[in-house]
């Protein structure tokens, strides 16, 4: 029995996957450059806003310093966001407890104090990592509970009092000068820690086996688990990494404030995730990179700086007269919130246009 003759022509094979080709050039450019477009725009606006002040070394240095600590925290948070676990809301608690423990341990010397502070923060990170990574609890709710417990614990142990380093001892004096210590004649330590953290984060996330497993875990948890990646350990470690960077930032912030207290670090969790998401790392996980996150940090620094330099001169429009307008902190926050939503919106739109929206 012979085969019946083929009368149907074979239809052309479908494209390898259902994605639309990234034909939109505008979107393609946006994807590659991401947040650095915003950074460039701010650099262009800066001199227009304040020709005398913006491009001075002093101004740019102070802009960098104002976000260095938040940037250090963001480098750690990036790992959590990359693994699709949103954010660690216990960061303010970790920053506070590492600062308080560091001040307490000053009596054993400066080096011991630093180690104790980092260890205290890392201990919280280990607990978070075990619970979220291994027991698979919801990260937002668990870390919210931890934040509340830590905040209460610090208040309870020190009965609401603040903890001052003793500047008569050499360790105490060193601790108080840590934030402002002179490197090349300038108080550069936070910025240097930020750069070191960024380089380390970049290498770890994009050039190691751990980083590769993290990318797969963040992109598709189940696929990563089935391909033999120890997903629980990978996710757990992100919380430890984040807690160490938060602890470092917490110690520096405590040195800057010259006091260890429960409120140190308040708001840093949301600021850091703002920078991370602004830098093109989506909450859907496995997408984005450390260079983008650094761009997000720089963008926030420049945005705040430009807005605080901005002076709108007195205006007379018809019968109305406006006095000189400056942009206060509240307005800066409002504009930042709006830009945050806008940038993430453009980012998710461009991903959708390119057919790569997986959130």
């Amino acid at each position: 029995m012979t085969e019946p003759p083929m009368i149907h022509t074979v239809p052309p094979p479908p494209p390898p996957d259902g994605r639309m080709p990234a034909s939109n050039r505008f979107v393609g450019v946006l994807n590659v450059l991401g947040v650095y477009i915003l950074v460039a725009a701010l650099f262009a606006i800066g001199p227009l806003v304040s020709p005398a002040k913006f491009l001075t070394e002093l101004n740019l240095l102070s802009a960098l310093q104002s976000v260095a600590l938040m940037g250090i925290v963001a480098m750690g948070v990036a790992f959590i966001t990359y693994s699709r676990h949103y954010v660690d809301l216990s960061i303010p608690g970790i920053m506070a407890i590492s600062g308080v423990v560091a001040v307490w341990a000053l009596k054993f010397g400066f080096a011991a104090s630093m180690l104790a502070g980092l260890a205290a923060g890392a201990a919280v990170g280990v607990v978070n990592g075990l619970v979220v990574g291994y027991l698979r609890l919801n990260p937002i709710i668990w870390t919210l509970a931890v934040a509340s417990v830590l905040s209460g614990l610090i208040r309870w142990v020190y009965s609401g009092q603040q903890l001052y380093p003793d500047e008569r001892t050499s360790a105490g004096w060193e601790f108080l000068n840590l934030y402002n210590c002179q490197i090349l004649g300038k108080p550069l330590l936070p910025a240097i820690v930020l750069v070191v953290a960024a380089v380390a984060a970049h290498l770890l996330m994009h050039h190691t086996a751990y980083g590769a497993s993290l990318k797969l875990t963040g992109s598709n948890y189940e696929a990563a688990r089935l391909s033999g990646i120890p997903v629980r350990r990978v996710v757990g470690l992100t919380f430890v990494i984040s807690s160490v960077t938060s602890a470092a930032a917490g110690i520096l912030l405590t040195s800057f404030n010259k006091v260890g207290a429960e409120y140190v670090g308040k708001g840093y969790d949301f600021m850091a995730v703002t920078a991370v998401v602004l830098g093109g790392m989506t909450l859907a996980g496995g997408r984005g990179n450390v260079i983008g996150v650094l761009g997000g940090v720089i963008a926030i620094a420049l945005m705040t700086n430009v807005m605080s330099l901005m002076r709108i001169p007195p205006l007379h429009i018809g019968p109305w007269a406006f006095g000189e307008i400056t942009i206060g902190t509240f307005w800066q926050n409002i504009i930042q919130g709006a830009i945050f939503i806008l940038v993430v919106g453009i980012n998710s739109l461009s991903l959708r246009k390119a057919g790569r929206d997986d959130s």
Binding site: I141, A145, V146, S148, G152, L153, G160, N333, I334
Partner: protein, 360 residues
């Protein structure tokens, strides 16, 4: 026969206890505090607990609704702040009713913005509501010049009425009568509590008994299925955000009116409690599972816990720590429960029995 129905008496009673866990937690807190804390089990103190829980109840209802629909609304706290500020700021010009209406409408507008950004612009709700929280809070800080707005001319008439007995002088207790019956009339049945309870009842009826309410569960349970069954997914998401921010603003306005001042801290302080209560109340972060009554009971339990600790002389720090611990324990329990239940279901004794019967 469902796998749940099978099993030993112990397993069945465990299931029953699990179903009523929020109520058991609440009863346990009341029992322990009543036994150890001085002045806890007194009518006046119970009225305080009801009042305290009622403060955050509207926002907790809104938060539950958004969570049921599978989204997150971090801006309920700032909506509360906005409601309180606007009602105080606008009352001199618009009167109380007008100001209250504008405050609630402003909340709805905030919710509409959230809903449109989430459903139409397809931005993650965590991001959107984080942004609107920041924007609304700072806008209110500008509106109030960074401080509080007192009631017009320091007028406490409305505040007293809202917190006074609702039934009027007819049933008012005679002087010296301080029993539970008197407490019910004078302290518990205040207009302020009435509004909170009415909101809760309305939310329960809509969510349990109407097709629209069941739609929220369907949407949160599986968005794809909801869309296939003809549900207007975008409409439901927008609706959830509008109701959430609207009732939060209304609740914040009620708080401000009964305290005769609008304050910036109201929302900030409440957000943590609201999230904790809704999660403890059994609403799932994944959506599609939970109830407003659970949230309300958990809110009462948390308020009773902090109130009892206050009675014991513990300060704010112990309150913070203990509500965090309760939240941590409850979600740990949930994880363990899920594990036990999966193992139990994996055994499938009934299925095995059926199989052997069909083979033999």
């Amino acid at each position: 026969m469902t796998p749940d129905g099978a099993g030993s008496f112990l397993w069945r009673s465990l299931l029953l206890a699990h179903r009523w866990r929020v109520w058991i937690l609440c009863a346990a807190i009341f029992g322990v505090m009543g036994a150890v804390a001085p002045h806890f089990a007194e009518p006046g103190n119970f009225a305080n607990i009801v009042k305290g829980a009622g403060t955050a109840l509207p926002a907790a209802i809104g938060f539950t609704l958004v969570l049921l629909a599978g989204q997150l609304d971090l801006s309920v706290g700032s909506a509360m702040t906005m409601g309180g500020m606007l009602v105080m700021g606008l009352a001199p010009r618009l009167g109380w009713a007008g100001a209250l209406a504008v405050a609630a409408a402003a909340g709805c507008a905030q919710g509409l913005a959230n809903g449109l950004l989430v459903s139409k612009a397809k931005i993650n709700s965590f991001i959107v509501t984080l942004g609107t929280m920041l924007i609304v809070y700072n806008a209110m800080a500008i509106y109030s010049h960074g401080g509080t707005i007192p009631a017009p001319k320091g007028d406490f008439t409305l505040s007293d009425w809202l917190q006074g007995p609702v039934v009027g002088p007819v049933f008012a207790p005679r002087p010296g009568q301080s029993g539970w019956a008197g407490a019910w009339l004078t302290l518990w049945l205040t207009p302020r509590n009435f509004v909170a309870i009415a909101l809760l009842a309305a939310a329960w009826v809509v969510l349990r008994l109407t097709p629209v309410g069941r739609g929220f569960y369907l949407l949160g349970g599986n968005r794809q299925t909801a869309w296939y069954s003809g549900l207007s997914v975008d409409g439901y998401i927008i609706g959830a955000f509008v109701i959430s921010a609207g009732v939060s603003a209304f609740g914040g306005a009620m708080v401000a009116m009964s305290e005769a001042a609008g304050s910036l801290e109201v929302g900030d302080r409440s957000l943590m409690t609201i999230v904790a209560a809704v999660i403890i109340g059994g609403t799932s972060m994944e959506g599609g599972k939970g109830s407003v009554v659970g949230s309300a009971v958990a809110l009462v339990a948390l308020t009773a816990l902090t109130n009892g600790l206050d009675c014991l002389g513990a300060g704010y720090e112990v309150n913070l720590m203990s509500s965090g611990l309760v939240l941590a324990l409850v979600i740990l329990y949930d994880a363990i429960w899920l594990h036990v239940r999966r193992r139990k279901l994996g055994q499938r004794k009934d299925l095995l029995a059926e199989l052997t019967r069909s083979i033999s």
